[in-house]
């Protein structure tokens, strides 16, 4: 589903590459954690998958497409197959929960019937049925993140990328978020999650890829967080 082959990424303004000779293979339906110290290249990895950045060297394949050969007008098509969740939720403050989730479908030109079916379904999946008419302001952090997950997943993408989705949440709320990500993973969606949260990684017992200064130093199935920073 995602394959990095000897990938190097050097930002134009930097002297040290953010990723260096990274080779990682993620199968369809897998759940993997990206761990590593701040600045080790986790977010860069995710941005390469999204084609927000292009690799300086090596090959990135996502959903069967060679991203270095993908012309820029096809990037939107790629992104429709990838859902994205961030630490800062990125909700639209003037739209309510339902509108925020529907937005992702509206801008893709989906018809109203479909939107009216998929949005409530997805809200139920993340446990937000009954709060559809609330504004983001009127929700807790955990609930806002669940809205963001619903928006990322409403189009049923093949891949879900999460960049420190629990970074702003307390441990109890984080567990709730992880339950949802796990549920999404069980529907067959590949999940890649970058995190600093040792407790979560240890409790989930999923594959762990550890980066250090842009290099893969560990790739372990059913791994643990495994380092202290």
């Amino acid at each position: 589903m995602i394959s990095f082959e000897d990938v190097t990424k050097l930002y134009p303004t930097q002297t040290r590459p953010a990723l260096q000779n990274v080779s990682v293979e993620v199968e369809k339906g897998e759940f993997i954690f990206l761990v590593g110290a701040s600045g080790s290249g986790k977010s860069t990895f995710l941005r390469l998958v999204l084609r927000e950045e292009r690799a300086t060297g090596g090959d990135v394949h996502v959903a069967g497409k060679d991203l270095s050969r993908l012309s820029s007008w096809k990037v939107p098509q790629l992104r429709r197959q990838i859902g994205c969740v961030f630490q800062d939720f990125r909700l639209l403050p003037n739209k309510n929960v339902r509108e925020n989730v529907a937005f992702a479908l509206e801008v893709l030109g989906k018809n109203r019937k479909l939107i009216n079916r998929w949005v409530p379904e997805t809200l139920e999946l993340v446990g937000l049925d009954g709060k559809a008419e609330r504004l983001p302001d009127e929700l807790s952090g955990g609930e806002q993140q669940r809205v963001a997950i619903a928006r990322a997943f409403v189009n049923r993408p093949m891949i879900l990328l999460a960049d420190e989705p629990t970074g702003n949440l307390d441990p109890a709320t984080s567990i709730g978020i992880m339950k949802i990500l796990d549920r999404i993973n069980r529907t067959g969606t590949t999940v890649v999650m970058a995190t600093h949260d040792a407790a979560i990684v240890d409790s989930m017992r999923k594959r762990v890829v550890e980066l250090e200064f842009g290099k893969v130093v560990r790739d372990q199935s059913r791994g643990v967080y495994g380092y202290s920073s």
């Binding site: 999204l50 007008w73 990037v75 939107p76 098509q77 790629l78 992104r79 429709r80 197959q81 990838i82 859902g83 994205c84 990125r90 639209l92 003037n94 937005f103 992702a104 509206e106 801008v107 893709l108 030109g109 018809n111 109203r112 928006r151 990322a152 189009n155």
Partner: protein
């Protein structure tokens, strides 16, 4: 994307930036009004030129027995042979449409009609003192000088009168008025283009959250640009509408105040004014859409 969604997004955008939207509206309206007034003056000048050019004819006065000009005193009255030669020469010129002959008798009659109100003048003028002439109608009125120089000084020709002295200066003034008006319009458009661009940039900035999410979920570039283009189109249209009412107002003012004082002038009809209004609306919409399009491309990297 559904139309209702596009419109509701656009409406949110317009409402959120009321002051900005108003700013663009006013600028576009002012710029388009400049353009409209410029076009109005331009069309008015053109129709005046047409009117006057239609009146342009070259009059070739012929020497009669009593003509006192120096050329006629040398050559004497024109002979029938010279006269028919002159006529066929004029008729053979490519610039000439038609040649009318006005005999001394006809000329005298016209003179009497023209000066009915001053009987002293008429009483003291006898037939033969008003010269006969060829009145030459031109295909292209601007070419009068060619005709004039071709027949001037020919035997039997007294003087050639071609309106040059009168109309030349008049047209020079009209032309500079017209060019000034167009220059004004050009500046207006440039100002509008830059200001719309700048405002759309601000709008893009205030909507960066929305566009960021749209990019993330894989909305097409077209879908991302659409609300901005529509916003541009609507403000452009409204600006054009304001400018249009200004032009209609100008037309009404001209009809009311100026027209009665110059009955012989050719004034712009409503048809031309409607045409100017259509131009203003189209330019308004296209201008702001283009400006939005290029700003958005540069600013959102879509």
């Amino acid at each position: 994307m559904r139309l209702s969604f596009i419109f509701s997004e656009m409406w949110i955008g317009l409402r959120r930036n009321v002051t900005m939207t108003l700013g663009v509206l006013v600028t576009t309206a002012v710029a388009l009004t400049l353009l409209g007034v410029g076009l109005f003056i331009w069309a008015q000048v053109n129709s005046m030129q047409d009117f006057w050019y239609n009146k342009v004819e070259v009059t070739v006065y012929l020497c009669g027995k009593q003509t006192q000009t120096s050329t006629c005193q040398q050559s004497g009255a024109i002979t029938p042979q010279q006269q028919s030669q002159l006529k066929s020469q004029l008729e053979s010129m490519p610039q000439v449409q038609h040649v009318y002959y006005e005999s001394e008798a006809q000329a005298y009659q016209r003179f009497r009609d023209q000066f009915k109100t001053s009987p002293v003048l008429v009483e003291n003028t006898r037939e033969g003192e008003v010269p006969a002439s060829f009145r030459v109608k031109l295909k292209d009125p601007t070419k009068y000088a060619v005709v004039t120089s071709a027949v001037q000084g020919r035997p039997g020709v007294s003087t050639v009168y071609d309106f040059r002295a009168v109309l030349g200066k008049f047209f020079n003034i009209l032309n500079s008025v017209r060019n000034g008006a167009l220059l004004l319009a050009g500046f207006g458009l440039l100002a509008a283009l830059l200001l719309i661009g700048n405002t759309i940039r601000l709008a893009a900035f205030s909507r960066r959250r929305e566009t960021g999410i749209m990019r993330l979920v894989g909305a097409s570039n077209f879908a991302i640009q659409m609300p901005f283009l529509m916003e541009g189109a609507i403000t452009g249209f409204l600006g054009g509408a304001v400018a249009s009412s200004a032009v209609y107002g100008l037309k009404a003012l001209v009809d009311w105040k100026i027209r009665p004082a110059f009955l012989t002038f050719a004034f712009l009809g409503w048809g031309s004014v409607h045409l100017i209004v259509v131009v203003l609306l189209v330019v308004g919409v296209l201008l702001s859409m283009l400006s939005s399009f290029f700003t958005i491309r540069r600013y959102l990297h879509v």
